[in-house]
């Protein structure tokens, strides 16, 4: 019986895939399976994976006939997974040796639907710790209660899918699949749904995942049009949260996070001029779609700079080709 399935999507990561695979080897166990999903890479990644398949115990290789993005690749892996527990890893990140056995035993000990774990962020040799923004550790609690308060960074703001482990019953309840087709921020609607729908979770340290920052090919580094999918991602968060029985309590948090992310993107300065214009238009439309009262409350709770930026956005005239107001 497979105890743990690890879903690992790869897309054009020939420089890093070896490290990832080697670290999986240092985490292999006879009851673990590694589902390597090649999202139609165009570099040497497929050959590296081909070779790994024979060297990595428990490896299963699946190749996409066309590139579908991270969310779709993870879904493919989930559909092929047999494990009682599931987790994810990205094809350019790596693990401490023996991390998965420790992660699994934490999950079994705590017996909850899912765990969130701290991780290490690496920029070359400089490393920093990233913690789950949830202070109570090693204690199973209701994840819904961990979403709030609205004005504090909480567990839903720590969206990394690979920073955790998930029991199969979440898969059976269809809570683990990612929104199809989103090219970025796919884990935002995912983590929100998990926190709304799952029955128990816990945060633990472990510090076993090493997340590679500053990778040129990594999406978070590129100011291209795919980044704008964050708007669709957050629209989905707001939509789904609005249907929740406790929408009145939870929505303020969703709206506030949405606003903060918009503001962050507006000031990041990394977008090409054309994309930046599109970002502005889409953001203005998004702000206007948000429920008025909630938006006002969110803006009032933010610092002056960010609030002013978003208010200006809201005053922007509606259509895409308008003259200046």
């Amino acid at each position: 019986m497979v105890k743990l399935s690890v879903v690992v999507p790869f897309y054009n990561v020939q420089t890093y895939a070896q490290d990832t695979l080697r670290s999986l080897r240092a985490n292999a166990r006879e009851d673990f399976e590694f589902i390597l999903v090649d999202d139609h890479s165009t570099d040497a990644t497929p050959e590296i994976l081909q070779r790994a398949q024979s060297e990595l115990p428990g490896a299963k290789l699946i190749r996409h006939e066309q590139n579908g993005g991270l969310a779709t690749a993870r879904n493919t892996g989930l559909d092929a997974a047999n494990g009682e527990y599931l987790t994810f890893l990205d094809g350019d990140d790596w693990l401490a040796p023996g991390y998965y056995p420790r992660l699994l035993s934490a999950a079994e000990r705590l017996g909850c639907d899912f765990l969130r774990t701290d991780h290490v962020q690496c920029t070359a040799r400089a490393r920093t710790l990233a913690r789950v923004p949830h202070g109570r550790r090693w204690a199973a609690t209701d994840p819904r209660a961990a979403i709030l308060p609205a004005d504090r960074t909480t567990s839903v703001d720590y969206a990394y899918a690979w920073a955790g482990i998930y029991h199969r019953r979440l898969l059976d309840r269809e809570l683990l699949h990612f929104p199809h087709g989103l090219r970025t921020a796919e884990d935002r609607p995912w983590i929100w749904r998990l926190h709304r729908e799952a029955r128990s979770f816990a945060a633990v340290g472990l510090l076993g995942v090493f997340y590679r920052r500053g990778v040129a090919s990594s999406l978070t580094q590129i100011g291209d049009v795919r980044q704008l999918d964050f708007i669709r991602a957050f629209d989905q968060v707001v939509e789904e949260t609005a249907r929740d029985p406790e929408a009145d309590r939870l929505l303020p948090k969703a709206v506030r996070t949405y606003c903060a992310i918009i503001s962050h993107h507006l000031t990041s300065g990394r977008f090409e001029p054309q994309v930046a214009r599109k970002l502005k238009a889409l953001s203005a439309a998004a702000v206007k779609r948000l429920p008025g009262g909630l938006l006002e409350d969110a803006l009032d709770s933010m610092d002056h700079g960010r609030a002013a930026r978003l208010r200006r956005l809201r005053r922007r005239p509606g259509g895409p080709a308008e003259a200046a107001a």
Binding site: T15, R22, A26, A44, W94
Partner: protein, 485 residues
Amino acid sequence: MGARTRIFLASTLYGAATLAAAVDGGHFPAPYGSAGDGAGGDSARGERSSGERAGGERAGGERRLLVVSNNAANPETTPAPDAMPGFAALRGRFDRVLSWNDAIRPFHPGGWSPRADDVPMWERYLRLLWGLDAPGDGTDVELVVESLQVEPALALARMFPEAPIDVYADGLMSYGPTRNKLDPLVGSRVRRLLHPELLPGLDPLLLTEFGVPGEIVSSSAVRGVLAELSAHAPASVAGAPSRAALLLGQYLSALDILTADEEERLHLRMLRGAAELGHRSVVFKPHPVAPARYAGALEKEAGELGVELRVLTEPVLAEVLYERLRPALVVGCFSTALLTASAYYGLPVARTGTELLLERVTPYQNSNRVPVTIVDALLPDVSDPAAVRTWSPPDRERVRAELAGLLRAVGFCMQPQILPGLRPEAEAYLTRHFDGRTRRYFKRRRLTALGLPGAVPRQLAFVPRNRTVRRVARRARALKRAALG
């Protein structure tokens, strides 16, 4: 006062082997009686012969801890030096082997150092972790480290702020200046620089700003340890052909000195040179921490040249290959292993790519400049078969006459602020020897900035700074590019 502890820090198997050789060579004699030796030991140290060293048991309660640091880009996925085949042969010299990566987990040894004000806590932490006595007289711990100017050696030196320090060097960098200004409270604790004699007749420049004397670890001690190591070579080595040409891969793209493509081309040139010299059997040894990449281009070229190529994917020391395979030729770029091949094993050697690297190693004070300069100045180019065939290692006199002055002049130009006392020597060297042959080792701009012979003549000194001249030069270059496509 409790027992004395000597902490050895090594980040490569070769470094650990150098330490083992220094132990075998009697450079760390056990103290007589108890711990009183630390205070007035300087004069006595040199007098003890290797016969007095303790074998299995250390007299006087001295303990030897080997702290192993894995400095690979991803230590989590790369075997540490003490997991390499052959380490077992060294293990007996030390009472305990500890992991630096474990001590500072999850941080990277190359990217972490304690904050100055936190040092007292860190010292307490390490003493607790490693079971040392509480700090009373802080000199109960002595450190033996490599590359003191960078982490992790610097971090360890700072965490034991009262410990005397010995530095050991295992490579050609010891013939160059210290790469940056060292904290005087670290540098002034250094008592000696232990180094193998790769170039008889040449004195190390490293740490001379603190008046640190060099101490030679005898070649016989080093060779003895390497012979022990080679008994534990990985299985793939046993199957490799002997008497082949051995190509030493480097990992220069990681240092941003070359691009990955250029690095590949460099390896191809080594192969072509070896083939031209008539070698039909070639062994390629990739750099141990280079990312596992395909030697595809090399294999293809070997096929076209009709050369049988064996790629050693398991990490193994070049010296182990020298012992086991007795290669007929060793080709490299500027690896220290080129010099050990020649100095310890009398093997024919050849270089490639050093000319490009003299340009690429930037800024001028980049410490790789020293090995590049040494190899370029001494070794024959692999694409010059006649030179490779007739080459013989330089003797003590030739090293003194040709290399010593050059390296001290280059050393001064690299670190004029750290070694200001070398100016007269640099001036004298450049006055006599700056010509078409030695020009490549210096940069005109640097000589000008330092006011040294070989600089742009004073009448023209305004040129590099003059806006109009620069603009004209830029335009001329642009036109040339456009014309040549």
